[in-house]
């Protein structure tokens, strides 16, 4: 018996059990989904991958303003040398004013391909210098409001398909209306976080799968017991527990068909062996499996460089090396699929413009991020108004000042790339002036 027949029988069995509306809401997505999976993405959807650098990456040594004299004055021992300096390890020039940290050489290739757009002096308007609070704000999408229960990425998912016209318009990934007129059901893999628990950014009403690795996604026992457990959840009452169990077994089946154990990256992409690299590799697997992934999330720590952060080499350089090689491998591996994918990096705030007494930097304000993708206007310029680094131009006399609210960037990306319409619901309280978007996409 093939899987489609199985699914039909399964769905039929569920219908005859007398289902509550909430059960219907949560389940029986299988038929649409499997069709999407089996036809391998003839209506391939858009994907957004968000990567969080936890600990506040030092933006001024990531996207280096080598045209600023003040930069070199304030960072005598950790500044990245000018591209023309002749130093073996110098900034990789982008536009004559900005350059990339030498460890970001792989990103330069993405710039040259026109798919990498750096954004500078961006971040949260909140003045907090607490990692916890600032990460919280960047993930909830509501700076200085701790009461927000959910994350902005989940709010996007929860609000994006609720109106009739959105259902036919913006949503694409395996969401065709079903032949019998039933509402299309989302894939269980729409939102995946490569983290042990659902991260704040994805908390909320829309279903999310959080996992350390694809290999976790199976029942840890032999076949007949797994079958029995499946049967336990497929018979009996039609309540929330059984529904979740049923969904899970569908998801597992779908993932199984993607055969994660046998995955070989394409185009000779080489992922670092680091957790971050491996997480990106698994995101690539999910995308290529065409199982309806729309939003993916991963994070990477080690950016809180208060002491000895190093310059062109050293601590920060090592973090950036892993970071850029992992992203480069993901882009390489995805190949043509990058036409439908946007990768967006973020970090809770930047660091002080001046180096401190320990060869490091302390908690600052504005930061920098990267937007990468086929439909990104990359390779042309560093986006965002540059506020300068002279003493009077600094925030509170010490940090890179903020000229772009992170919500403007996130809004533009989810709106233009994913087709989000209800930006007010995703970023409540933010006056989303589209005229001030940066034109990233």
């Amino acid at each position: 018996m093939n899987r489609r027949v199985f699914m039909k029988s399964g769905a039929l069995a569920m219908v005859t059990m007398g289902l509550s509306p909430s059960f219907l809401r949560r389940s029986v997505y299988g038929m649409e989904l499997l069709r999407g999976a089996s036809t391998h993405g003839n209506r391939r959807g858009k994907v957004l991958i968000c990567l969080f650098q936890r600990g506040a990456a030092d933006a001024l040594n990531v996207v280096v303003p080598h045209g600023e004299a003040a930069y070199y004055r304030m960072r005598p021992s950790i500044a990245i040398p000018r591209p023309v300096s002749g130093a073996a390890q110098a900034a990789v020039d982008l536009d004559g004013f900005f350059g990339l940290h030498p460890s970001l050489q792989p990103m330069k290739e993405l710039w040259d391909r026109g798919i990498l757009a750096p954004v500078h002096a961006v971040g949260s308007p909140s003045n907090t210098r607490s990692h916890f609070d600032a990460q919280d704000y960047m993930e909830s999408g509501t700076p200085d409001n701790k009461g927000t229960p959910d994350g902005w990425l989940n709010r996007y998912l929860a609000t994006r398909g609720t109106c009739e016209e959105c259902a036919t318009g913006a949503r694409q990934a395996g969401h065709q209306p079903s032949p019998n007129g039933a509402k299309p059901q989302p894939s269980p893999f729409e939102a995946v976080a490569m983290t042990p628990q659902t991260p704040r950014i994805l908390e909320g009403p829309a279903p999310v799968i959080a996992m350390n690795g694809l290999d976790e996604f199976s029942i840890r026992t032999n076949g007949s017991e797994a079958q029995r457990i499946e049967a336990l959840y497929r018979t009996g009452s039609a309540d929330v527990v059984h529904a979740a169990g049923g969904e899970m077994f569908e998801a597992m089946k779908i993932l199984r068909s993607a055969n994660p154990q046998q995955y070989v990256p394409e185009h000779s992409a080489e992922y670092p062996r680091s957790p971050f690299g491996q997480h990106l590799r698994q995101i690539a697997q999910l995308i290529k499996a065409d199982i309806g992934l729309e939003v993916a999330f991963a994070d990477v720590g080690g950016w809180d460089t208060h002491v000895n952060q190093g310059g062109a080499t050293g601590q920060l350089a090592a973090r950036l090396d892993d970071f850029s090689k992992s992203i480069h491998a993901l882009v390489t591996d995805l190949g043509d699929r990058m036409a439908d994918v946007v990768i967006m990096t973020m970090s809770e705030f930047g660091r002080t413009a001046r180096q401190n007494g320990n060869g490091g930097t302390d908690h600052g304000h504005a930061t920098a991020l990267f937007v990468i993708g086929g439909d990104v206007h990359g390779g042309k310029k560093v986006f965002g108004r540059w506020p300068g680094l002279e003493p009077e131009q600094l925030n509170e006399g010490r940090d890179l000042a903020l000229t772009t609210d992170f919500r403007a960037v996130f809004s533009e990306v989810i709106s233009k790339h994913l087709g989000a319409q209800k930006l007010d619901a995703v970023f409540p309280g933010f006056e989303n002036d589209k005229a001030r978007w940066l034109g990233l996409i």
Partner: protein, 620 residues
């Protein structure tokens, strides 16, 4: 007949008796204005179901023999006893919690430990730098510093244990304590007054938070609990009130008084520095929105600011981790809170008055009672029950014990609709599985990490609202899978302290046939409650559903045993050994591997694993 019986039972309880009470105590008279357990109310649940209901709701599930004990004692008497935990001996829990290294340490010592390790690390880092090593990271410096100094190594190990000890102890208590309702209440309040271990130094205050702040008042007066929380370093730090000071536009108490004493000028520089931080509304807002009135409880943004002003100067001594009121931070102006005027020039009384106001507000009675009813009865808290018991809350000046008595002796509590209507949280899944298996928890953080793996790290809720208390929040694709794998891991003996060997039912069940095994397991682990479908699946050698559908290819959803673990996609980190809890209380490699290693179950273990992974076990 019934009412005379209930009076006798009250007499027993008041006399402080357990099941083994001698008959003579029954003759003592009872001061029973509160012979309130409503035995006369009709109850929909059958007697055995009532036993299950109280063990599932007022305890973290049944240990072997518990159902028989409750039945023998009588459900109502058992409830009354659990409502007065002081009358229940609890040596096992006390003994166990005595074995944790950092749990009973003074907060000030924990702070000192933490400080010394930090300092040594910084010194080492400076030294490395002076020696010309410019690439050394924080971690490198820390490692070097520790390698050189065994005493420091000991301190560092201790500092690392803090969160793990608190998490482990909380779970262990839930498993072994005889004061089960007290533990359930502690869990409820720690979630209501949620703090996050990953925010800065909050973790140093957690042991004290559990021991000195929540536990003593878990069944006491709400105002006392609220006051203890307001002054706790954990909450002061987590919601920033410790650094909230009068805005520069308002006079502080010290300037007002100091000027009279002519000390004002001399103290100004220090004050200005402190006051530069200004007002922080964080705690004030959550105090009303989450801790007392509820979001629609009838306060305005103006009230939030006024409450924040009233609470300025409620701070702590950062070296001792102890509450202190600092007049020089306190806003000395007049405030108007919820329509009540707080006169200018007062000190700590401002905050005390605010706590009085919000604790006794009618919205608070309703909000707290609604949360209790949702937790103990059902997700859709019955308005009639809420209103009845909120009345008790108000009449008794926020007596949590009496409010609880109203809820858990109500017909709604013993109604068909409420029976097994709650979905267990991950903490409840783990605690109830360990109790069912008669587990003896160890003092490592390993089992607590499994709770995190199931999605609910203990003291790991980042937002101040606490974990959700509705079933649909816990039931999703990823979570159900981990629950199933957890059940299998318990049956396979992979979870510390739990094994078939220590499960009393195992001895007799091993020797009998499958049908008796299944019925024994259903009785012991599922409280005798399972659907006919579940029973038949546990019984069958084959899978009836899949048989019926004639499926040939769905067998492969299990982990394929033929794939060696090393070749799986696991990131390198997931294969590292060692039980380490991250600073934020989230699990590291070890918990992951417990749930991820493939296993094979046979015979009785197989039936137990299926039962623990069944839909029935996900409910309480």
């Amino acid at each position: 007949m019934r009412s005379s019986l209930s009076i006798t039972l009250v007499a027993l309880v008041v006399a402080g008796c357990s099941a083994a009470v001698p008959a003579s105590t029954q003759t003592r008279s009872a001061p029973v204005a509160q012979a309130a357990f409503a035995v006369s109310e009709p109850r929909e649940l059958l007697p055995d179901e009532q036993v299950q209901q109280v063990l599932n709701r007022l305890a973290f599930g049944a240990r072997p023999g518990d159902a028989e004990k409750v039945r023998a004692m009588g459900v109502d008497r058992w409830i009354a006893l659990q409502l007065t935990p002081d009358r229940i001996g609890d040596e096992a829990a006390e003994q166990l919690t005595g074995h944790y290294e950092t749990l009973n340490a003074r907060t000030t010592d924990l702070i000192e430990t933490y400080r010394q390790v930090q300092q040594a690390r910084r010194r080492e880092q400076m030294q490395l730098r002076a020696d010309g090593d410019t690439t050394a990271s924080k971690q490198d410096a820390r490692r070097d510093a520790l390698a050189a100094d065994p005493q420091l190594r000991d301190l560092a190990r201790r500092a690392q244990r803090i969160v793990g000890d608190v998490q482990s102890a909380k779970l262990a208590r839930a498993v072994v304590s005889e004061r089960q309702l007290d533990e359930v209440m502690v869990d409820f309040w720690e979630n209501h007054f949620s703090v996050y271990s990953g925010k800065g130094q909050t973790r140093l205050f957690l042991a004290s938070y559990d021991r000195d702040v929540i536990r003593p008042y878990a069944l006491g007066k709400f105002r006392d609990l609220l006051g203890a929380v307001a002054k706790s370093p954990a909450m002061l730090f987590f919601l920033d009130n410790w650094q909230s000071a009068a805005d520069s536009t308002h006079p502080t108490l010290a300037t007002a008084r100091g000027a009279q004493r002519r000390f004002g000028l001399a103290r100004r520089p220090a004050q200005q520095q402190r006051r530069a931080r200004g007002l922080n509304e964080n705690y004030a807002r959550e105090l009303m929105e989450l801790h007392t009135l509820g979001v629609d409880g009838g306060y305005s943004q103006r009230d939030v600011i006024e409450v924040a002003r009233a609470l300025t100067g409620w701070t702590m001594n950062p070296r001792e981790g102890a509450f202190v009121f600092r007049p020089e931070m306190h806003d000395a102006g007049t405030k108007v809170v919820l329509g009540h005027t707080l006169a200018a020039g007062r000190g700590i009384e401002d905050g005390e008055d605010v706590l009085d106001l919000v604790a006794r507000h009618p919205s608070t009675a309703r909000f707290i009672t609604t949360k209790l009813v949702r937790h103990f009865v059902s997700d859709s808290a019955s308005p009639a029950l809420v209103s009845r018991c909120a009345g008790v809350f108000t009449k008794t000046d926020g007596d949590i014990r009496e409010t609880m008595r109203c809820i858990v002796t109500s017909p709604e509590f013993f109604s068909r609709a409420a029976y097994r209507a709650k979905v267990k949280t991950p903490f409840e899944v783990v605690a109830s599985a360990l109790r069912a298996m008669n587990a003896q928890p160890d003092t490592t953080p390993r089992t607590a990490q499994l709770v995190a793996r199931l999605g609910q790290p203990i003291f790991g809720r980042q937002t101040p609202d606490g974990w959700p208390d509705r079933g649909d929040a816990w039931m999703n694709t990823g979570s159900i899978l981990n629950r199933i794998n957890f059940g299998l891991a318990v049956a396979a003996g992979r979870v510390p302290g739990a094994s078939l060997a220590s499960w009393p039912a195992a001895a007799s069940l091993r020797a009998v046939g499958r049908e008796e095994q299944v019925d024994g397991v259903i009785k012991a682990i599922l409280g005798g409650q399972s659907s006919p479908e579940t029973r038949s699946i546990l019984l069958s050698g084959e899978n009836p559903l899949l048989d019926k559908l004639g499926s040939a290819d769905s067998s492969s959803m299990a982990m394929d045993d033929s794939v060696p673990t090393d070749e799986m996609m696991a990131p390198p980190r997931a294969r590292q050994a060692g039980a380490v809890v991250a600073k934020n209380g989230r699990p590291r490699a070890n918990a992951v591997s417990v749930l991820n290693r493939p296993l094979r179950l046979e015979g009785l273990a197989q039936v137990v694993g299926l039962a623990l992974g069944s839909p029935e076990f996900q409910r309480r």
